[in-house]
């Protein structure tokens, strides 16, 4: 390739960069800037003698130690709930995605119907859906009644205002985030590879374990991230379905610190801790599972 040709070649390559410019500008304005503002706010100190919500710029690093000491339990609980939610959503979402993408391949109508069903919850508002769950799980609701009638639940027990209700609500609300990426991935799975597996003495289960599952790992990775990250920061499920004692999640604390206590530095510090913690966990996770299986 001559120098002129090479220059021409790289100029064509560079053209693409101009198209990402608006995106970068958008992110800088609406993501990077708020994060910086949040970071600054998290170090603010109360104005001496000032009223509620009066803070001034400072470098008050003790804000961080303070919130960690006060709120490490809800923080850990958030990650525990998010983890359980992610696992539950994976266990429910993968088979659904597999059914629609692989088993129903070629049956366009059935596929379309099931896909609509998967996305259907998105048509109603998040809060409304969660409120509906509250009714379903309430003491005089159908589920509790049935479980008690079957003696699967002791008479005095509840489902609302329990950790189970919170995790169940989150699993339900985030299920499409798990199912859709896995579906998108399995959709592209080459059916001939499954045939090759069965031709080479692998039972359907072995073919799934050795061929389908490894090949769908990029979808699983995307789905688990899309579920885990919002679940860790969620506060709606916890406040509507939880009990404010042993189900409190970090999102609730941030919300109440900000809106009710007007303790902006603490809220910002907590939000930043949450962000960094998620980032570290996600990076560790992607390093462990991502690069090896992503083709």
């Amino acid at each position: 390739m001559s120098t002129a040709e090479r220059r021409q070649h790289s100029r064509q390559g560079r053209l693409g960069y101009w198209f990402v410019l608006p995106g970068f500008a958008f992110l800088a304005l609406f993501f990077a800037l708020p994060v910086l503002v949040m970071l600054a706010t998290s170090l603010f100190a109360p104005v001496p003698g000032g009223g509620v919500g009066a803070f001034q710029p400072a470098l008050e690093f003790s804000n961080y130690t303070e919130v960690l000491v006060l709120y490490w339990v809800p923080l850990l609980r958030s990650f525990a709930f998010a983890l359980i939610t992610t696992v539950a959503a994976l266990l429910i979402g993968y088979p659904i995605a597999y059914l629609v993408a692989v088993r129903l391949r070629g049956h366009r109508l059935a596929q379309g119907l099931l896909l609509v069903l998967i996305i259907a919850p998105f048509f109603a508002s998040f809060i409304l859906r969660t409120q509906a769950w509250k009714i379903i799980l309430s003491d005089d609701g159908l589920v509790v009644g049935a479980l008690k009638a079957l003696s699967l639940m002791p008479p005095g027990a509840h489902l609302t205002a329990t950790a189970v209700a919170v995790v169940a609500g989150m699993t339900y609300n985030f299920l499409p985030f798990m199912t859709l990426p896995i579906f998108a991935n399995l959709e592209r799975l080459d059916a001939r590879l499954i045939e090759a597996g069965s031709d080479l003495y692998a039972s359907p289960w072995e073919t799934f374990r050795k061929v389908t599952l490894p090949l769908s790992m990029p979808g699983v990775l995307a789905g688990t991230l899309l579920t885990f990250i919002p679940a860790a920061g969620d506060y709606i499920n916890a406040s509507l379905l939880g009990n404010n004692r042993n189900t409190t999640m970090i999102g609730q604390i941030i919300e109440s610190r900000f809106f009710q206590a007007a303790d902006y530095p603490q809220a910002a510090a907590l939000a930043f801790v949450l962000m960094v913690a998620i980032l570290i966990l996600v990076m560790a996770y992607v390093r462990r599972f991502g690069t090896k299986e992503l083709l």
Binding site: L193, L200, L295
Partner: protein
């Protein structure tokens, strides 16, 4: 073998009487596969002896892959039964069949290294030393140095050899090869053909080799089946198929044939006398599909001797016997209308009045090549003539692209 009947409901017999399959080998009985109202495989009956090298030859879309898929268990036949070693395997799941496939699309596992791909089948069957065995087979296909690569880092030909290794390593009772050498260059192709033949002889596996390359089918296989529109047109050893085709499709698809419309005049001992235009000729009646009415008379281009007018054959028409009692057919009054010189031989197109265009391949033995416009006479040993049904379209199989 008595278990055959009890294993499954009686096959929907199609024409052939319900004979018990003989031991060993692979048998297809009345195999039909329909997709909707399209019939991809149409009543195929085959018997492939154990340890045989069988080639399935046919144009694109004639149902070769579909037939293989039914043998592998990847497609369930609409009708008919499949027997392996006397056992009815029609309903057996693919992973329980001692059958492996080299897929037309390779279907290598992209998330595994080459060596893991090759060892896959061995590991599923918990074979001891899977990796070592896989390495040996990789050596056989000359890919040892790429064992740790991913398939997508290989060239098309290399991928094909991995696919081959991945199937062969399992030493299945039947190996199905769906155009396994299609992506290889000429040199590698020849080499792999020899390798395949050698492997087949050494391990004694039954090979079913689908190919569009008739040279490949003819040189490698013990038995060749020519397939067309879902049916087996003809089946036999390569020489037999070439020497005595039974349908116009086979005559045209396997090599080239001159086919001339003719009418049977009479029978004389083993011979039939026929008339084509103004010429008469003879052919052996047992090389002819019928003994009366209209026929298509065929002769292979290389069987015809071409001589310039002026030599001692001049003026001789029809049929004559030479001093050794050999019967010859002659066409006189031809004119060379086109020629292609290929070095070893020359391909002539000769216009014969009342007959049409006749193709002749002449070996360049003496070096005296004829020219366009030369007047020639043609002759060939009558015993090489074959007769086909007269109602078949004369160009069937001539223009199709081999698949």
């Amino acid at each position: 073998m008595n278990a055959v009947g009890s294993m499954s409901p009686a096959p929907p017999e199609t024409g052939t009487p319900a004979t018990r399959p003989t031991s060993g080998g692979l048998q297809l009985r009345g195999l039909v596969k329909r997709f909707g109202d399209f019939t991809a495989v149409d009543h195929v009956d085959l018997e492939i002896p154990p340890g045989g090298f069988f080639a399935l030859l046919g144009p694109s879309g004639c149902g070769k892959t579909t037939a293989l898929r039914m043998i592998a268990g990847l497609e369930f036949p609409t009708e008919g039964r499949i027997f392996l070693g006397g056992q009815d395997i029609t309903g057996v799941k693919p992973h329980r069949r001692p059958v492996n496939t080299v897929f037309q699309s390779y279907a290598l596992f992209p998330h595994m290294s080459v060596i893991d791909n090759v060892a896959f089948g061995l590991r599923r069957r918990k074979v001891h030393d899977a990796r070592a065995k896989a390495s040996q087979v990789l050596e056989l296909v000359e890919l040892s140095h790429l064992a740790d690569r991913r398939p997508q880092q290989l060239s098309g030909g290399q991928q094909q050899r991995v696919a081959l290794a991945r199937a062969i390593v399992n030493e299945p009772e039947v190996l199905l090869l769906d155009e396994p050498l299609g992506a290889l260059d000429m040199k590698l192709r020849r080499q792999m053909q020899l390798e395949l033949s050698r492997i087949q002889r050494e391990v004694g596996l039954t090979f079913i080799h689908v190919t569009h390359d008739q040279d490949e089918a003819m040189t490698m296989a013990d038995i060749v089946a020519v397939m067309n529109e879902g049916r087996i047109e003809q089946l036999g050893p390569p020489e037999e198929l070439y020497d005595q085709p039974e349908t116009v499709f086979v005559a045209n698809f396997l090599g080239k044939s001159n086919l001339i419309e003719a009418e049977v005049l009479g029978e004389d001992g083993p011979w039939l006398t026929i008339a084509a235009g103004s010429a008469q000729a003879r052919l052996l009646s047992d090389r002819c599909v019928s003994r009366q009415g209209r026929l298509l008379v065929g002769i292979r281009p290389e069987k015809i001797a071409i001589a310039p007018v002026g030599s001692d054959d001049e003026g001789r028409h029809g049929t004559f016997a030479d001093r050794d009692g050999e019967v010859w057919n002659t066409l006189a009054g031809g004119v060379v209308s086109a020629m292609t010189y290929t070095g070893v031989s020359t391909e002539y197109q000769v216009e014969v009045p009342g007959i049409g265009s006749v193709e002749v391949f002449a070996q360049n033995l003496a070096g005296d090549v004829l020219a366009i416009g030369d007047r020639v006479s043609l002759r060939w040993r009558a015993k090489y003539t074959f007769g086909l049904a007269g109602d078949e379209p004369i160009s069937a199989g001539a223009e199709v692209e081999p698949g």
